[in-house]
Amino acid sequence: MAMKQRLELILEELERARELEALQAAIVALRDLFSVDHMVYHWVNSDGEQYGCGTYSSDWVELYVAKDYLRIDPVIVGCYQNFHPVDWKRLDWSSKAARTFQAEAIEHGVGNQGFSVPIRGPNGQFALYTVSHNCDDEEWGEFTEQHRRDLILIAHEFNKKALDFEPSRTPEQSRALSPREVDAMTLLAMGYSRAQVADTLSISEHTLRVYIESARFKLGAMNTTHAVARAMSRGLIVV
């Protein structure tokens, strides 16, 4: 429970951020919260400009850039332009170049395990949110199974925030709720059960679930309760 609240707090701080540096602070906090060796967020925008933040050592980042590892890193090669999350073990590490790269990464403390969430933004923007750690396969399997959903949502929160800093972007456009979503959130805030909300709006509970999930994403919340609280604190719903 404490972890859940701390996670919500970190994401709220992230959302309020007015400067890119806040992404670095948030990613360090999240790395500590999940007790993993590293978290990294990396993006390329439509003009090919890159931005990154994360907890890798500066030695490793410098080496990575100097050796142009972007071109052989199986995580980048295997995720670029895709949109499904990947356990690093599923990637192709068979080439000599990839194995050399992996050995160097491990030497620099990246870890032998990794999980990456690729994100496809508007206008060719692409980003990758990665968690890496040093542990055995079993422990890593349990970790990713337990946290996959949170990691996917966090990855998208980072990307939404990073997009806010794109010059041509109006921050509100991705966050506005439709009237139907406002109705659903308002009724939930009033303490209606899902069945009552669905009934009141004359929709099925499945449909309601999707409207709530959609609103949750727009509000940058981790769950329904959190989403209702955010909608209220932002004045999007009035109860």
Partner: protein, 212 residues
């Protein structure tokens, strides 16, 4: 067998690629009379094929297309949000946990189990990537097919009448539904998993590591 192929890898499967776009023209233009674009080569494509979607394809024994569907994330451009907001009460359905499934297509001579095999594969994607729902656009004929294979979507909204009726629907997939669909497809869950791993890389073998 089922293959999962991103658009930018389709060129590795020229026969499958060509026959899929031909079958799509045959289904959507010739048989259903939808207002879709068919190019000089006789292939049907739209702007979403240019967004590097993930195709789930049933490949027949001769290497050609037996059926397919097209997956896209709802967090960037997709058909439901770009064109069918009127069918979702104006709600732009967006979430990394909801993907869009469109262009569900069966070739004229598809074996009867093809549709079920595709649904089974859809479940594999959900399970493998943490997807909780699919949202999709489909016509009246598909409603019947989905019902037959035991995987009816929840209808969010519809327009038009009879054969012309277009609906936006929603799939969730329980473990029971998965087993039922696997039986209809005549494909074991193990084989289905194996096809998934062939496309996306071998799954981490925790259980094996434990007993080794």
């Amino acid at each position: 067998m089922i293959r999962y192929i991103y658009a930018n890898d389709l060129n590795n499967f020229p026969k499958l690629k060509r026959s899929m776009f031909l079958d799509r023209a045959d289904q959507f233009k010739t048989r259903l009379g939808w207002d879709v674009q068919v190019n000089a080569q006789g292939e049907e494509r739209d702007e979403y094929d240019a967004l590097n979607p993930l195709y789930v394809i049933w490949e027949k024994a001769d290497g050609t297309h037996g059926g397919s569907m097209r997956l896209l994330p709802t967090t960037s451009s997709c058909m439901v949000n770009d064109h069918f907001l009127n069918l979702t009460d104006g709600v732009r359905i967006q979430s990394p946990l909801i993907w869009e499934c469109t262009r569900f297509c069966l070739s004229r001579d598809a074996e009867s189990r093809t549709a079920a095999a595709l649904m089974l594969a859809g479940g594999e994607v959900m399970c493998g990537f943490g997807v909780e729902h699919y949202v999709g656009v489909f016509d009246a004929r598909m409603v019947r097919i989905y019902r037959m294979i035991g995987s009816s979507p929840e209808i969010l909204g519809a327009q038009g009448e009879g054969r012309e009726k277009i609906s936006v629907g929603l799939w969730s997939f329980t473990d029971q539904a998965r087993e039922a669909v696997a039986r209809r497809a005549g494909i074991s869950l193990e084989l289905s998993k194996n096809w998934f791993d062939r496309s996306f890389g071998r799954a981490p073998q925790y259980a094996l590591a434990r007993t080794a």
